[in-house]
């Protein structure tokens, strides 16, 4: 019973993920594109939950859907019609090349997966209940991965400063 439920949830979430991904990439209206991304993020959160990554699912919704998408929507609203994104031209060779590259990548990954399917991907490890909980992740951040933690915070600081610099008005900057 549980197995079937999980499979069903998985199908729905995976389907939603892929469909919204395609939608993000293909629709012309950027607003719809952003909304599709929100759907993608939500589906992903469900998938994370299935993978015992509770904290990450929550973080995904909070950070991504909550703040990043809001930023996107702000910018779309600010740009208005200028943000319109028709499927316009470009060298045809480029387009075929792009499709070929992406397909090749996908094929490769599938092949590798197929090769590894039998042995490495057979059994997932047994995990405790606390796997993926905020406490365990927090403990890791403060012990084994302290450096990554600190540097990530610096990256965020830099991004904030950069954002401010980029956003300052041209007139003000020329006056400097």
């Amino acid at each position: 019973m549980g197995e079937v439920l999980v499979w069903a949830v998985w199908f729905v979430a995976a389907g939603g993920c892929l469909a919204s991904g395609v939608a993000v990439v293909s629709v012309t209206n950027p607003f719809h594109s952003a909304l599709a991304l929100i759907g993608n993020l939500a589906s992903l959160a469900v998938l994370y939950l299935l993978l015992s990554a509770e904290f990450l699912a929550a973080a995904q919704v909070l950070v991504y859907a909550g703040s990043v998408m809001v930023m996107f929507l702000f910018v779309v609203a600010y740009l208005g019609s200028r943000a319109d994104a028709p499927w316009a031209g470009g060298p045809p060779l480029l387009r075929t090349a792009a499709v070929v590259a992406a397909t090749a990548l996908l094929v490769e990954v599938v092949v590798v997966l197929g090769l590894a399917w039998g042995d490495n991907l057979r059994d997932a490890a047994e995990v405790a209940d606390g796997f993926g909980s905020p406490a365990s992740i927090g403990r890791l951040f403060l012990t084994d991965h302290l450096l990554a933690f600190e540097i990530t915070s610096i990256v965020l600081l830099v991004a904030a400063v950069g954002g401010v610099v980029l956003g300052s008005t041209p007139e003000k900057r020329e006056a400097d």
Partner: protein, 102 residues
């Protein structure tokens, strides 16, 4: 583990990555390109978390969290760039940004 094996998740992640890559390579609006990059990053995250589950080590999740933070930072800068372009009246068209030519 209940439900599909880790391999299925990785497959989904791969398809998402490929979709995002197509979007980066085929769209001309920088906004859409940014969104496609987000798709790619999320695909990578999914793969990381799936493998974390597979090996039973939380390092993958920690890595995914760091990726998320970096993606957020990158989106902030990217959007700042797009806004700056818009403010200066430059066309929001990736094909018109050819200052690297030569």
């Amino acid at each position: 583990m209940l439900g599909p094996g880790v391999g299925w998740y990785v497959l989904v992640a791969a398809i998402m990555f490929g979709t995002g890559a197509l979007g980066v390579m085929l769209r001309r609006s920088p906004l859409i390109v940014l969104l496609s990059i987000e798709i790619m990053l999320n695909g990578a995250n999914l793969a990381l978390i799936a493998f974390a589950r597979q090996t039973g080590s939380l390092d993958g999740q920690v890595f995914a969290l760091a990726v998320m933070a970096v993606a957020a930072a990158e989106v902030a800068i990217g959007l700042g760039l797009i806004v700056a372009m818009g403010r200066r009246g430059l066309a929001l068209d990736v094909d018109r940004a050819t200052a690297l030519k030569g």
